[in-house]
Symmetry: C2
Subunit: 200 residues, 2 copies
């Protein structure tokens, strides 16, 4: 039985929710309200010194943070993680792209735009976040123009990682209608067996 | 024969240089001056649409970007990447930590402090970058206080990934003397066989 520590409305935590359901793994969800300090308590920092969600409890004393590392752990020896050396490296390539070139703009724009008060000073960051986020979406659009999924023409944890914040990018003020190949890929991902909705 | 496209002074590119030397793999280095637009040419963007270094040329038509995905690819089936499922996931955990919580602060502070003119407006970002970078160093210090290496008490690609920008953090104005466990770990990494210096 895994323990998934996360906040249901977070895209990074949603990745776990999707993988646990689609891999039909037994788990218990522990809601951690990272918007209100629950990741900064001494008890939580003892489990994850970096003070972030999600976190996977594997067994007594074994914990794993970092959403994309958790996806790779859960998907080991499953159809969601290719065995081929180059394909597996491409899955990681897109996961690192997600955490470095995509999430810091698209997820952060969503957080500011959808969750902070209308007069919050961080709204001044939105134009720059949207510019960089659109650069990431353009890279994805070009890649998906000739492909059904990110790697090897099969649904993998790379798709889960990128779906999490792309499918709700409109929350951050992004116009997904400008990216038709992304739109078709989002529909393919949402049609996978055992798909669950963000926040459910 | 691999082709390593990179800029020798970049820590992300240095990761490849270290791994290629330490794994004794045959390669040719192609210097790409990303500080002066060489990653934005049509020819380079055709190889890596995300316009970044490093990039690994594997064989005709096969390329792999993202420094940490390249490390995992190169280290497959070697002593630098553990076979155990949990240890391998922990290697990825620290690599995602590096790209999300470490590099955007410690590498960017170095770039601004060491490479931009004294009157560059981005110097105003340095206090915030140093605050966040020190948070990452504190997480590493706590982890290394009871360990020799990041995962499984063995040198791995997680150490290479974190060494790249940590060992030169003073370039960005960080005081490594405040982190004794990191200092001892840096010495252990530098003492590995076939270690090479940044920029060499």
């Amino acid at each position: 039985m895994f323990i998934a520590y996360g906040m249901k409305l977070s895209g990074n935590c949603y990745k776990l929710h999707l993988a646990l359901e689609q891999l039909q793994l037994p788990y218990r969800w522990v809601e951690i309200d990272s918007m209100h300090g629950a990741t900064r308590t001494p008890e939580y920092l003892a489990l994850n010194a970096n003070g972030k969600v999600p976190l996977l409890g594997i067994e007594s004393g074994k914990y794993l943070p970092e959403s994309n590392a958790i996806l790779c752990y859960l998907a080991a020896d499953s159809a969601l993680l290719p065995n081929d050396r180059y394909e597996r490296a491409q899955v990681l390539q897109w996961m690192f792209f997600e955490q470095y070139s995509h999430e810091p703009y698209i997820a952060v724009a969503r957080m500011i735009n959808a969750f902070l008060p209308a007069d919050d000073s961080r709204r001044a960051d939105l134009p720059r976040l949207r510019e960089r986020g659109n650069q990431a979406l353009a890279v994805m659009e070009q890649h998906l123009a000739t492909r059904s999924y990110f790697v090897g023409e099969r649904y993998s944890v790379a798709d889960i990682a990128l779906y999490a914040y792309t499918h709700c990018a409109t929350d951050g003020g992004f116009d997904l209608a400008s990216y038709p190949a992304i739109g078709q890929w989002l529909a393919r991902v949402a049609a996978q067996p055992s798909h669950v909705l963000l926040g459910s």
